[in-house]
């Protein structure tokens, strides 16, 4: 079963990225987490996302695309990245979410990937 871990971070966390070095508690922690996932054979994919200020949101209304600067949701915590893991159960996914560095400074949302919908789209 595929689970997506959606990583939410606040403005200060995004700011730490630039100042961070490869061994410290921010990037360093992420590197170790990534290694653990890969070595456990559960890592399927994922990417960190650039800061919310780089986001552009698009909607189509009256057949005209409305382009808006900024992320879709204007919340304190913003989507900062996602990870896809192949795991046997929700509990296993919740355990990996708890190990995620963002769980301690932000929040990690766990969502199952819907294989049913995927089949309908990709078949």
């Amino acid at each position: 079963m595929l689970y997506a871990l959606l990583i939410y971070e606040n403005q200060a966390d995004f700011a730490r990225r630039a100042a961070s070095v490869e061994t410290d508690e921010y990037v360093g922690a992420w590197r170790k987490y990534y290694q653990a996932m890969v070595e456990s054979g559960i890592y399927v994919g994922g990417h960190p996302l650039d800061v919310p200020e780089t986001a552009t949101t698009v909607r189509l209304s009256d057949n005209k695309s409305q382009i808006q600067d900024g992320p879709y949701a204007n919340t304190k915590e913003q989507l900062g990245g996602f990870t896809l893991l192949e795991l046997p159960s929700l509990d296993a996914a919740l355990e990996w979410a708890a190990r995620c560095p963002a769980a301690s400074y932000g929040a990690v949302e766990v969502r199952p990937v819907t294989s049913e919908m995927e089949r309908r789209i990709t078949n």
Binding site: S89, L90, P112, T114
Partner: protein, 410 residues
């Protein structure tokens, strides 16, 4: 002749549904991780049994028959929908597994796993207990509403949502690891006790409810074997055993309701009380008091009357104080008022009743029954009669209605 076999078959279907519903749902759902699907397919299987069994006779192992029929429904459904394909091989394996079991009692019991799934922290905590009552103990929405003091229709939708979450997120059907147990245990204990409470309310004519009480006690026993070091599990078992020991004394020979204070202690089942005492003592040794241990202690004081001939209401009132601090509830608040009425008189009891939010107890029968008795003791006859009428109107049991009517008009 045909009519008789029909009736026998119908009764057999009803009996196996009553005795095995939760077991069968748990067996199916443990393998497919789909509670709603397990319930639907079992419902279909029971319907099929109603037409097949009168025609072909009652199968030797009715549970295995139902499981096979339910499993076939699930496989058909999976093929038809072309979803949950991963369940099909599991289901096929399951058939062989069950068909080889000739003795129905040898079927594995997965109900504890199902209980812990229902109490998973990923499920809305408000729905933990109703979910367990429905899936593991087979209660319908009305009975759940009564046990939980909420309207049945508010529950249905949320039950559906919870079951969808179990299926879609694939919560595992396992006994949780030791560190995961404590946060889920409270919900499991609450559900078992709610089931027992439901059986207690309807102890009269319907044997289904007496059986539900036995089921609840049995679940607490199994839980105690799994988690021997938890004092609340033992406290709950003790509490239910104290109550169960009094079941035969709750009705007179001619079927009339006998309140606790008028029960003949000779009618209590002493071996059951002894077992309750030793469970409670074992729990107390662990030095971690909790809601169920306190409630059991209250029943223990009542049980002492079998030896001393009197009831220590001061001790009971003190335990209710403690209970209301640890686990405040409407039932506890009303019972506390009744206990203080015994210690300090009816005025004191009434004053405590008046402190409870009236909206919260407006449909709560014990509130009106206690109020009626206290008003009557104070010779406030008219108010007492009105409270009696309300209590009678809220009663669900003929014997209780008769008892209250008699006291109103005495």
């Amino acid at each position: 002749m045909k009519g008789r076999t029909d009736e026998q078959a119908h009764r057999a279907v009803e009996a196996v549904a009553r005795e095995s519903y939760g077991r069968l749902v748990a067996l199916l759902a443990t393998r497919t991780r789909d509670v709603a699907g397990a319930e639907d397919s079992l419902g279909d299987a029971l319907l099929a049994a109603l037409t097949t069994w009168p025609r072909d006779g009652i199968p030797k192992n009715p549970q295995a028959w139902l499981l096979t029929a339910a499993r076939n429904r699930l496989t058909d459904h999976a093929r038809h929908q072309q979803v949950h394909d991963h369940n099909v091989p599991i289901l096929q394996l399951m058939t062989r597994e069950f068909e080889e079991i000739a003795d129905p009692d040898a079927l594995p019991d997965e109900r504890l796993k199902l209980l812990f799934v229902c109490a998973h922290p990923a499920i809305d905590p408000q729905i933990h207990t109703p979910l367990m009552l429905q899936t593991v103990l087979g209660l319908d929405a009305v009975a759940i509403g009564r046990a939980m003091l909420v309207a049945p229709r508010t529950i249905g939708q949320r039950l559906v949502r919870a079951k969808a979450k179990i299926r879609k997120t694939q919560i595992a059907f396992e006994i949780p690891t030791p560190d995961q147990i404590p946060p889920r245990l409270e919900a499991v204990l609450n559900a078992i006790y709610a089931a027992y409470g439901n059986s207690w309310e309807d102890a009269t004519a319907d044997p289904r409810f007496a059986e539900l009480g036995q089921e609840a006690i049995w679940l607490a026993r199994v839980l105690g074997e799994q988690i021997p070091e938890d004092p609340e599990v033992r406290g709950l078992l003790a509490l239910m055993l104290y109550c169960e020991a009094r079941r035969p004394a709750r009705r007179s020979a001619d079927g009339r309701f006998v309140p606790l204070s008028e029960q003949d202690a000779n009618d209590w089942l002493m071996p059951m009380i002894d077992e309750a005492e030793s469970e409670l003592a074992a729990a107390a040794q662990m030095q971690r008091p909790g809601r169920f241990q306190i409630e059991a202690a209250i029943q223990s004081v009542h049980a002492e009357r079998a030896h001393t001939g009197r009831t220590e209401w001061t001790a009971i009132a003190a335990f209710y104080d403690q209970l209301m601090q640890v686990a405040p509830s409407i039932g506890g608040a009303v019972a506390r008022a009744a206990a203080y009425a015994e210690v300090r008189g009816p005025e004191a009891g009434l004053a405590l009743l008046d402190q409870i939010d009236p909206q919260a107890v407006i449909f709560y029968q014990p509130n009106w029954a206690v109020r009626a008795h206290l008003l009557q003791q104070l010779d406030r006859t008219q108010e007492a009669a009105r409270a009696f009428d309300r209590a009678i109107g809220l009663s669900e049991d003929d014997a209780v209605r008769a008892f209250l009517t008699e006291h109103r008009d005495h």
